[in-house]
Symmetry: C2
Subunit: 206 residues, 2 copies
């Protein structure tokens, strides 16, 4: 394999592999969207953060809405991959699966200015292009489905104990995670998401 980057200067490293411009744009845009929301950053902000000129962005993403959709798509894929891998492991302990599943969310929770991308975008839902709305909705549906499956299995195997329907508990869990991410930034408390998720799993285990 030949590295595509041909310029001078330091290589762009993230997660240990080199990134081309499109990836750098996606990564930086995700950061901006997580911290400022879709309507809270401009192509100018993005270009400044990356260190290129504004029109260069249009070569990779012909409109801000296209970029927005791509950013959510990448986030969604990344998060879904975790869920898919856990679904693929036969007979994994439900408590462990839940812990592994929540780890990416806890990681975001520990990053001071960050929050779940889709939680943030859900807050500006009707002020967003429709293509982006559909991506956000799909993200939430996917994760509700995963949580419902995991909770149902976990209760059947006596790893979890709760009265309500698995779907209702899944809805509660996802609401809780998303809400904790929003709240923690406003009260400037990095421990909130971890603490809250801990309280939840404590409740679920009876």
């Amino acid at each position: 394999m030949i590295f595509r980057s041909g310029g001078s200067g330091p290589p762009d490293l993230t997660d240990g592999h080199r990134m081309d411009t499109a990836d750098r744009i996606l990564t930086t845009a995700e950061e901006l969207m997580q911290t400022r929301g879709y309507n809270g950053f401009s192509y100018q902000d993005l270009a400044d953060a990356i260190g290129i000129r504004k029109p260069s962005l249009y070569h990779h993403f012909p409109s801000k809405a296209d970029l927005g959709r791509a950013v959510i798509g990448a986030y969604r894929d990344r998060m879904r991959r975790v869920a898919d891998q856990l679904d693929a492991v036969e007979g994994i302990d439900p408590v462990s699966a839940l812990t592994l599943y929540l780890e990416p969310m806890l990681e975001i929770g520990r990053r001071p200015g960050a929050a779940c991308l889709c939680g943030v975008l859900g807050s500006e839902f009707s002020a967003m292009p429709e293509e982006m709305q559909a991506e956000v909705t799909a993200f939430f549906e996917e994760h509700l489905d995963f949580l419902e499956r995991l909770l149902a299995r976990g209760r059947a195997e006596a790893a979890f104990r709760f009265e309500a329907e698995p779907r209702a508990v899944a809805r509660l869990a996802l609401s809780l995670i998303e809400g904790a991410m929003i709240l923690k930034r406003s009260i400037d408390d990095r421990t909130l998401v971890g603490e809250t998720v801990g309280t939840l799993t404590g409740l679920l285990r009876g």
Copy 2:
């Protein structure tokens, strides 16, 4: 008392009393901020929605940040009044107090495009003027304090049953409410907030 409104046309009624222009601006701006976020609406949108011209807004609120702060302030006062009234009732049943406290949130939850103003604004926290950030933070702190008091008293009186610290449960409850508001719009489900709050109170009552 003499009504201040002097023009022709239908009187502006909300909650059964006439509103002057400043109130209409505040009310309409709150709606826009709840549905589109602070960076998702403009003075032009607001003027159009009210039916006046853009510069007229500046007579009442000299900047968008001023208006934003005023909108949160009004929302905060309104919500705090409920909490203060409940604090003032000697020996009120904690479960009833919690139900009454949550009713305004449930009402917002039933309104299709709406969400808690401060939850929405918490999502764009770092893309907001500092004066507004401070209001949002204060809102959350107030409500965490109220919930903590209520939960501690409720447990002492055996109306609630939970293991964790009252503060931790208050943080969980507020995260849950705010998250449910965000989520319900993105999955277009008006029942989510009510269902989720029901599940929570069920859990708290043991």
